[in-house]
Structures are given as structure tokens and as C-alpha cells.
């Protein structure tokens, strides 16, 4: 029994490839739970970071420093009255957020957190991702249509036009990254997500820096297009309140609206994961070839523990700085417990790093490797998440026609150009 | 105090007694006959360069025979001079609109109509501007009591007695 479990801990292939449905299901559940938790954490981070950008504090009351705010929000939304417009198309109204959610979550089946830590490594992975994430548009359009009111309809149409136009640029940028995977001995590239990261590993360079500045420009195009894909600032006309239309989710209240928000944040994480996989080396730690002495391996493997220790340190500082008034007693205790929890996790990670620091095939080593892969991947994705929030705080909003102009007249030609030049350079270098 | 200036001389010679020019506390104003409106306004804009119509307003003197004073306050950028043009009209009479001369006058005359009930001929869209469309009465007239509007409107529209 133990063998059965541990045998899959260090499996070199994903459960999908191994045909192991049980583990695939477990991975799916882990991803589902993980994404939901990350979305809640994103919600908190967004409110806090936005507030700090705006010289205010953000939620402070619900839980220490607002840490329980997302839970309170989720509860509130669940308990809200479910209002359905009487003239709305009932079935379509009900199914629209589900379509969006479906599109956002299905992408996670191909996202690789490690060389074998994915639900399934399809050999058309990136194509699958592009196709499925386009389904999100359908969710928005059906939501706007089903609301039977012309403000949501206008918002939905605008949003769908925006998403469609930036998908073209996104796709072309992705293709130029795929081209770079074929710069190996056999001359065949791969569409599989894990294969792309392994190609970066083989070539010893993140595609971000490959044929500088070509990879960089392609990355920038993708980075801008992904912000437009997810309807985030500065491309957030669809959800902007101070514009005329209030967007496609006007008529949705309570849990239905939170499903849209869940889909939006999940999509954000998904496209950031794509960007990380394609250009930033996926799960690889920085400088795997340059600094490949065992001592560097050990130092880099300490990073997860150090991160959690730093977080625990922040929480501890927060606890110490909280006023010692009786009003804050519960918050102080709560934050202290949270700090201790983080410290405990840091300790566990440290143990795993120390015990498994040699790369033999023991359980500890395999666990350490797995944790490292997931950690570096999530760290890079987190940087993107923070950037999303930073953009929202800083920039004004694009007007719709300007948005479309940028998508079609600026991004598309540049991405086409990058694609062509990458192909030429690739042939020449060969 | 009488106001003398070349411009005054010109208009006095042109219109004779229909134009009076005075000055009070350093501010100059014409008092013209109603028949001269809008010609004199047009002349002031075209010849004397009073291209900025600062305000159009009215004053109600119920004891007078011609109850309303309609006042235009004009300013010239080139001359850096501000003058007033006043005319007197009777209750119920209408007065030509100056919207064709200065586009500013559009809302200003609407407000005068709204508050006093003075109709402006030739105004493109003379309807109430500040008060709701169905309002009865013209508040800034002297015979419009300050409390009466409250009681009547509240009674009709909210169905209760006003607390005033």
C-alpha cells in the first residue's frame, strides 16, 4: 500500500500519460482546491495592495489585517438574494457563469507545475490551452445576452470583441515561442507544455532571453494580450463602473456574480501560468546551468522554506505591532497563530530540503524536488499576479476604440514580425 | 450719475431718447426702450466688440407699470469693459431672444423664463430648466410667496401637509 502511494510520488510521467485515473482525479481535486484558495488569496492581496497603492490600509477588521475578508465576502455572496430578471432567458442566464468557469478551469489540466506534476501532458497542450480559454468569450456573451437589458449586452459585445482581437496577437506570440522549441538536434518542436519547458532546459536559456530581443518582444506581446484577455486594467471597460455601461455581469447577484469573479481570477492565473511556462522556464530554478554546483542546488532548494519563513516573519511583526488594547486581543492571537502556522510550514519545508538534499531517489529527495518545482512555478506566477494588481492601481482605462486599435494595428503587426524574424533567425542559426 | 463716452454719444445720436446711459458706483449701464432689443444688442456685439454675454437676468418691480427689468451684462475682451443693458417690459409681454447673438443666452434666458415667466421670442427651446417641467408659477416674482410653493407642491405630490 505504501509502495503504491510512494511509487507515484516520484513518477516520471503525469497520471494522464500513465493512465492512472485515480491519481489524475486526485490531481484534479488538488488543483481545484488549490486554485480556489489562490483565488481567495488573490482577492485579499488585490484589496490590500490596491489600498496600499492608494495610501490607505484596506480591510483590517475581518480577521487580522483583513485575512478573513475573502471568506466573509464569499459567505455574504452566498447568502445574498438570487435575483433573476423576469425577462431573462432563465436557462442561459443560469448556464453562462458555468461556461466561463468551465473555460477557466479546464485549462489547468495541461498546466505543468513540474516535469511530471500535471494532470495530463497532452502533446497538443498549448493548442488545447488556447482553444479552451477562448471558450471564456462564450460565457461572457451568453451572460450579456441572457440579461435582456441593453447595458449588459453592449458590455458583453465590447468585451467579446476585445478578447477576440487580443487572442490573435496572443496566438502569434505563442507560436513564436513554439518555434524556439524546435531548435534542437532533431529539428522538431513540441506543443506539449512540459515539452516546452524541457526544451528551455535543454537549450539552457529561458525563451525570454532567446535571440534577444525577439523572445522578449514576444513575451511582452503576450503579457499585454493576457491582460486584455482577462478584462483587467487598463483594458477593463467591461467591468468599469464609471463608464456608461456596467458590464456583462450587471444583472448577476450573489453567488452567480462570484462565479464570474472566480472565473476571472482563475483565468488570470491560467494565462500567467502559460506565460511562465512558455517564456520564463516553467518550474526551473534560476541559473540551473550556470550555478550547477551541489551547494547552489542546496541553497536554491532552501528558497521555499525561506519564503515561508519571511512570510511568518511579516506576520510576527504584524502581531507585535498590533495595539495591545483588549479590542485587538482576538486579532492579535489570530495573527500570531497564523504566524506560527507559517513558521511551522517553513520548518517542515526546511526539513525536507535538508533531508533530501542529495539527489538520490529517496522519498525525501523526490518530495523535495517536487516541492521545488511547484515553488518556483508559483513564485513566477505570483509575480505576474502582483503585476496585474499594479497595473490596475496605476493606469487609466483605455477607451474602446483605442483598445481595438492597439490590438489590431499595433500588437498584431508586431507579433507577426517577431514570428517571421524568429523563424528566419532560427533557420540561420541552424 | 450720467455716463458719457463716445459709444454713448453714438447710440444717443442714433436712437435719441430711447437710450439712456447712466453710471452708478463706476459701473455703466444703458437703459433702452424695449423696441430697440435686439438691434442694439447686435450692434453692441458687432460694432463695439461686446462679444461675451456675461449674464441675462431680470428683476421684478410689481408696483411699476412695466413690471420687469430685463438686464444683459456684456463684456468686451478687447476693450476690457463691462456694461449693462436694461430694458423694461410689462407683465405678459415677451421680448426678442438674444440667442442668435450670443449662444450663451440659451440657458440664461431659459432660467429667466423659469423664474419669472418672461417669454423670449425666437428662443429655440424655451422650457423650464431648473424647476421640474410640471411646476406652476414663477418663483422669483415678488408675488410668489416663499412658503406657498412648499405647501402646495407637497400636498399635491406627496399627499401630506407641509410642516412649514
Amino acid at each position: 500500500m505504501l509502495n503504491y502511494i510512494t511509487s507515484y510520488l516520484g513518477s516520471p510521467v503525469t497520471p494522464g500519460q500513465a493512465g492512472n485515473q485515480l491519481w489524475a482525479l486526485i490531481y484534479v481535486l488538488i488543483i481545484f482546491a488549490g486554485v480556489s484558495v489562490v483565488v481567495m488569496a488573490m482577492n485579499w492581496l488585490e484589496r490590500k495592495a490596491l489600498a496600499h497603492f492608494q495610501i490607505r490600509l484596506g480591510p483590517m477588521r475581518v480577521g487580522p489585517h483583513g485575512l478573513l475578508q475573502p471568506i466573509a465576502d464569499a459567505l455574504k455572496l452566498m447568502l445574498k438574494e438570487d435575483i433573476i430578471p423576469s425577462e431573462a432567458d432563465q436557462f442561459v442566464f443560469w448556464v453562462a457563469p458555468l461556461i466561463g468557469l468551465l473555460a477557466a478551469f479546464t485549462v489547468y489540466t495541461v498546466i505543468p507545475f513540474g516535469p511530471s506534476q500535471a494532470v495530463s501532458d497532452m502533446n497538443i497542450g498549448i493548442l488545447f490551452m488556447l482553444g479552451v480559454s477562448s471558450l471564456g468569450v462564450l460565457g461572457i456573451v451568453t451572460a450579456g445576452w441572457a440579461s435582456n437589458s441593453h447595458y449588459p449586452l453592449i458590455g458583453a459585445l465590447r468585451s467579446s470583441a476585445q478578447m477576440v482581437s487580443y487572442e490573435v496577437a496572443m496566438g502569434l506570440a505563442v507560436v513564436s515561442a513554439i518555434l524556439m522549441t524546435s531548435l534542437n538536434a532533431t529539428g522538431t518542436g513540441t506543443l506539449s507544455m512540459i515539452g516546452i519547458v524541457q526544451a528551455q532546459q535543454q537549450q539552457g536559456i529561458w525563451f525570454l532571453f532567446k535571440f534577444f530581443p525577439l523572445g522578449f518582444i514576444a513575451f511582452i506581446i503576450f503579457a499585454i494580450a493576457m491582460v486584455a484577455e482577462t478584462n483587467r486594467a487598463p483594458f477593463d471597460l467591461a467591468e468599469a463602473e464609471s463608464e456608461l455601461t456596467a458590464g456583462f455581469h450587471t444583472e448577476y447577484s450573489g453567488l452567480r456574480w462570484s462565479l464570474f469573479m472566480l472565473a476571472e481570477y482563475a483565468a488570470m492565473i491560467a494565462v500567467s501560468a502559460i506565460a511562465v511556462t512558455l517564456w520564463l522556464g516553467g518550474w526551473m530554478r534560476p541559473f540551473p546551468n550556470l550555478l550547477n554546483a551541489p551547494v547552489w542546488e542546496f541553497i536554491f532548494s532552501l528558497f521555499p522554506a525561506l519564503t515561508f519563513a519571511a512570510l511568518a516573519g511579516f506576520a510576527l511583526i504584524g502581531t507585535v505591532r498590533m495595539p495591545s488594547h483588549s479590542f485587538f486581543k482576538i486579532q492579535r492571537i489570530g495573527l500570531g497563530v497564523f504566524a506560527l502556522l507559517l513558521a511551522f510550514i517553513a520548518l517542515v519545508l526546511l526539513l525536507i530540503a535538508i533531508v533530501g538534499h542529495n539527489s538520490d531517489n529517496s522519498i525525501a529527495a523526490r518530495t523535495r524536488e517536487g516541492i521545488d518545482y511547484i515553488y518556483w512555478f508559483m513564485l513566477k506566477v505570483s509575480i505576474f499576479m502582483y503585476l496585474f494588481i499594479w497595473y490596475r492601481a496605476t493606469w487609466p482605462r483605455y477607451r474602446f476604440d483605442q483598445l481595438m486599435r492597439v490590438g489590431w494595428k499595433v500588437m498584431l503587426p508586431i507579433s507577426l514580425g517577431v514570428l517571421i524574424v524568429t523563424a528566419i533567425v532560427g533557420v540561420v542559426v541552424k | 450719475m450720467p455716463w458719457t463716452s463716445p459709444m454713448v454719444e453714438k447710440y444717443k445720436s442714433q436712437y435719441g431718447s430711447a437710450v439712456e446711459a447712466q453710471s452708478y458706483l463706476g459701473q455703466n449701464y444703458f437703459t433702452v426702450d424695449r423696441s430697440l432689443i435686439p438691434n442694439i444688442l447686435r450692434l453692441l456685439r458687432d460694432e463695439e466688440q461686446f462679444d461675451y454675454c456675461v449674464d441675462v437676468t431680470a428683476v421684478h418691480y410689481p408696483q411699476r407699470e412695466k413690471q420687469f427689468d430685463v438686464v444683459w451684462i456684456l463684456y468686451s475682451f478687447q476693450r476690457n469693459e463691462r456694461i449693462r443693458v436694461k430694458t423694461q417690459i410689462a407683465d405678459g409681454a415677451s421680448i426678442p431672444s438674444s440667442v442668435a447673438i450670443w449662444a450663451t443666452a440659451n440657458w440664461l434666458e431659459r432660467e429667466v423664463y423659469d423664474m419669472f415667466g418672461i417669454k423670449f421670442d425666437g428662443h429655440p427651446d424655451l422650457k423650464r430648466i431648473l424647476l421640474p417641467d410640471g411646476w406652476k408659477g414663477f418663483p422669483l416674482r415678488k408675488d410668489y410667496g416663499i412658503l406657498q410653493q412648499d405647501k402646495e407642491w407637497v400636498q399635491i405630490n406627496l399627499g401630506i401637509e407641509s410642516g412649514q
Binding site: 497603492f53 492608494q54 495610501i55 490607505r56 487598463p234 477593463d236 471597460l237 468599469a240 463602473e241 464609471s242 463608464e243 456608461l244 490596475r392 496605476t394 493606469w395 487609466p396 482605462r397 483605455y398 477607451r399 474602446f400 476604440d401 483605442q402 | 452708478y24 458706483l25 459701473q27 462679444d51 461675451y52 456675461v54 449674464d55 437676468t57 428683476v59 421684478h60 438686464v71 451684462i73 475682451f77 476690457n80 463691462r82 449693462r84 450670443w102 449662444a103 450663451t104 440659451n106 440657458w107 440664461l108 432660467e111 423664474m115 429655440p124 427651446d125 430648466i129 431648473l130 421640474p132 417641467d133 410640471g134 418663483p139 422669483l140 410668489y144 416663499i146 399635491i156 405630490n157 399627499g159
Partner: protein, 403 residues
């Protein structure tokens, strides 16, 4: 459970018929262009930007006639905040009316008070003493900065940049603190009296004003760093809501809007009042008369205000702060019109006195009212998203529009 399909809420509101469809849009007076290619389905929508706005301008209703996204014509429905200030003035003495004046343009209350007090002083033919004038200038210019800061925050918010709002409001707090220390109120200050100022400057006034000047200059640079060269801001504001100088003069637009269209006119320089002639400052003008120019003009105006305040606070003369004004103010029979350069434009008071203690007629010439008229001209041919930007750039305060 009520049957939600029937729209019979109207029966619960007495006399609702007067209000349902009471503002039926009669577009015959708007010279609307009909689209050249009539489409199968007419794209003309009439959209109502209702009295309740997410943008913080007050209760303004704008009815837009759209062809798809383009605006063909607008109609503004105002009067939601009409409180009958002019009628009230006829029933209050001159001194009693002073606090009412702050409530019109509540953002720049000190300017309103300055205009009114100076108008009545003119009617009485008295001059406020120089010390009072210097104090008035300092407070008025501080209020100008505060008003422009509020304008900047809300305008940026309308266009989508949410952060400058918080920065400007935080910095505005310092000005409001000075007001509070001076006269006890932050917003509706009632700072001046007819004949001068009632309150002497408090101990430390000069020091606080000087430290405020040092505090706020880098903050204005901060706002500029966020917006002035930001590509998205430029795209949203350049060539949006353009009005030519000729149109502006014809429509009677004043204030920064007029100056941004290229007309270098400021009442503080043209017809100086309250010792403004003693101070050395410049009048910024723009070239195109678009939203971006109005933004730049107001930013420069803020800096010029700092200049004026610095000169004023360094040279406050000694002397009385109140002129010899009778206890019961009974001006002689006559009329007066006096206007000042409020942050929004030319704010004028036309007072007719019949020799009694109460004004016979008090007319306020509100800059926002006249500027709002220009909205129609400015948004023709623009897109819907620009309407919000243009309303923001006109810097209207509904309290002043409606009085």
C-alpha cells in the same frame, strides 16, 4: 410574491404621470446629423446618464442620443439641486445671507464668500483694508488649489486611474486643516464678512501656510508624474472635447476652459480685485482647447496659486481687518455687478438694492451653469466614453449649476 412582470410601480407614486416621461426628449431643437448610410436596424439609441452617477459630480442628468458609439446630441437636465438661493436672498439681510453663499459651489466655498462680500462692499462703497485683502487672497488661493485637487482626483477616477484620487484628497486635507484652524469649518467656511474678515489670523498661520507650500509643491509633481506623460492618459484626453476659442467666447465659457482654448483672460489680471494687482503671477493658456490642455492649465494654475500665496504670506501688512461698515447694512438704492475669478470660472453677483436691509434681487452668475451649456458642443462626434471625461473636465459643481 409580487408579480414582477407587471410594471405598475407608477401607481404607488401620486401624480407620477407628471414625472414619468415628464422630460420627454424633444430632439427637434438639436441639430442632429442623420447617419449617411441608413442601416437596416436603426442604431440610434437614446441613453440616459441618470441623476445618480458613479462619477462624483452631483445630480446631473444627461440624455444622449447615440449612433452606435458616437454621440449625436445631448440634453442636460439640471435642477435636481435647485434650492432657490436667489429667492432666499430676498428674504434675508445681507449679513444673514453670507453663509448661504458657501453652499452653492461647496467645493470652493471661500471664493463664493469673497465674491459676495466684495459685491456688497462695492454696493456700500467701502473698501476692505489691505490686511483683510491679503488674508482673503491667501485663503482664496488655497481654496483654488483645493478645488483643483478635488477636480483632478475625480477626473482621473472617471477616466480610470483610481490612485490620484487618494493622493489629492490626502493633500487637500492640509488645506482643510488650515481652514478649520482659521474659521472653524473645513468645507463651507463662511470665512469673510462684509467689510473684511472677522477673524484674525491665528498664531502660526504664516508658518503653517509656508510649510504647506513646501509640502504641496512636490505633491503636484507627483500627480504630474502619474498622468502628464502617461500614454493612456494622453490618448484619453488629447483631442477629446475640443472647443475653439470663438465657440468658447460665444458660449460664454470662462475659467480654465476658456484659457485652455487660447484666450488669455483672467479676471484677476483684467479687472483686479482684492489687491491681486500687487502679486506677480502668470496666466496659463492652452492651444487646442481639448481635455489635455485643460488638465495642463489647471496644473499650472495650482503652481501659480502657490506663487501668489507665497508672495501674500510674506507680505501681509499690519492694520485693521475690518472696514467701517454700519452694524445694520442698508445700501443705497442701486445695482451692482461684481465678479471674481473662481476656480471654475467667472463667478458674478448682481445685487439690486432698494434701500432696505434685504437685497431686492440677488442674482448669482454661476460659472458651472454657463460652462455646462458648452457640453453639447464639446461632445458632438465623440464616443460615449468621452462624455464622462468631458463632464469631468468642465469641472462643474451641481450646487452652483442649480443653486
Amino acid at each position: 410574491m409580487t408579480d414582477r412582470t407587471k410594471n405598475d410601480h407608477a401607481k404607488d407614486v401620486p401624480n407620477a404621470a407628471a414625472y414619468v416621461g415628464g422630460t420627454k426628449l424633444d430632439t427637434s431643437h438639436l441639430e442632429l446629423e442623420t447617419p449617411e448610410h441608413p442601416y437596416l436596424d436603426s442604431n440610434e439609441l437614446i441613453i440616459n446618464m441618470g441623476p445618480q452617477h458613479p462619477a462624483t459630480h452631483g445630480v446631473l442628468r444627461v440624455i444622449l442620443k447615440l449612433d452606435g458609439e458616437k454621440v449625436l446630441g445631448t440634453e442636460c437636465v439640471i435642477g435636481y439641486l435647485h434650492r432657490g438661493v436667489e429667492k432666499i436672498a430676498e428674504n434675508r439681510t445681507y449679513t444673514m445671507f453670507n453663509p448661504y453663499v458657501d453652499r452653492m459651489d461647496y467645493v470652493a466655498a471661500v471664493s463664493n464668500g469673497l465674491g459676495y462680500c466684495q459685491a456688497v462692499e462695492k454696493l456700500l462703497n467701502v473698501e476692505a483694508p489691505p490686511r483683510a485683502n491679503y488674508i482673503r487672497v491667501i485663503l482664496t488661493e488655497l481654496n483654488r488649489i483645493a478645488s483643483h485637487q478635488l477636480w483632478l482626483g475625480t477626473h482621473a477616477l472617471d477616466i480610470g486611474a483610481m490612485t490620484p484620487l487618494f493622493y489629492t484628497f490626502r493633500d487637500r486635507e492640509e488645506i482643510l486643516k488650515i481652514f478649520e484652524k482659521y474659521c472653524g469649518a473645513r468645507l463651507t467656511t463662511h470665512a469673510f464678512r462684509i467689510g473684511g474678515c472677522l477673524y484674525e489670523t491665528y498664531a502660526g498661520f504664516e508658518k503653517e501656510v509656508k510649510s504647506f507650500l513646501k509640502f504641496v509643491a512636490p505633491k503636484i509633481d507627483e500627480y504630474e508624474a502619474l498622468l502628464t506623460t502617461n500614454r493612456i492618459w494622453l490618448e484619453r484626453t488629447k483631442n477629446v472635447g475640443t472647443i475653439s476659442a470663438a465657440d468658447a467666447i460665444a458660449l460664454g465659457v470662462t475659467g480654465p476652459v476658456l484659457r485652455a482654448s487660447g484666450v488669455k483672460w483672467d479676471i484677476r489680471k483684467a479687472i483686479p480685485y482684492a489687491n491681486y494687482a500687487d502679486f506677480d503671477f502668470e496666466i496659463p493658456t492652452g492651444e487646442n482647447g481639448d481635455t489635455y490642455d485643460r488638465y495642463l492649465v489647471r496644473m499650472v494654475e495650482m503652481r501659480q496659486s502657490l506663487r501668489i500665496i507665497e508672495q501674500a504670506v510674506n507680505g501681509i501688512p499690519e492694520g485693521p481687518i475690518m472696514a467701517k461698515v454700519p452694524k445694520v447694512i442698508k445700501p443705497a438704492v442701486g445695482e451692482i455687478y461684481h465678479s471674481i475669478e473662481a476656480p471654475k470660472g467667472e463667478l458674478g453677483y448682481f445685487i439690486v438694492s432698494d434701500g432696505s436691509t434685504q437685497p431686492y434681487r440677488l442674482r448669482v452668475r454661476p460659472p458651472s451653469f454657463v460652462n455646462l451649456q458648452a457640453l453639447d458642443v464639446m461632445v458632438r462626434g465623440m464616443l460615449v466614453a468621452d462624455v464622462v471625461a468631458v463632464i469631468g473636465t468642465l469641472d462643474i459643481v451641481l450646487g452652483e449649476v442649480d443653486r
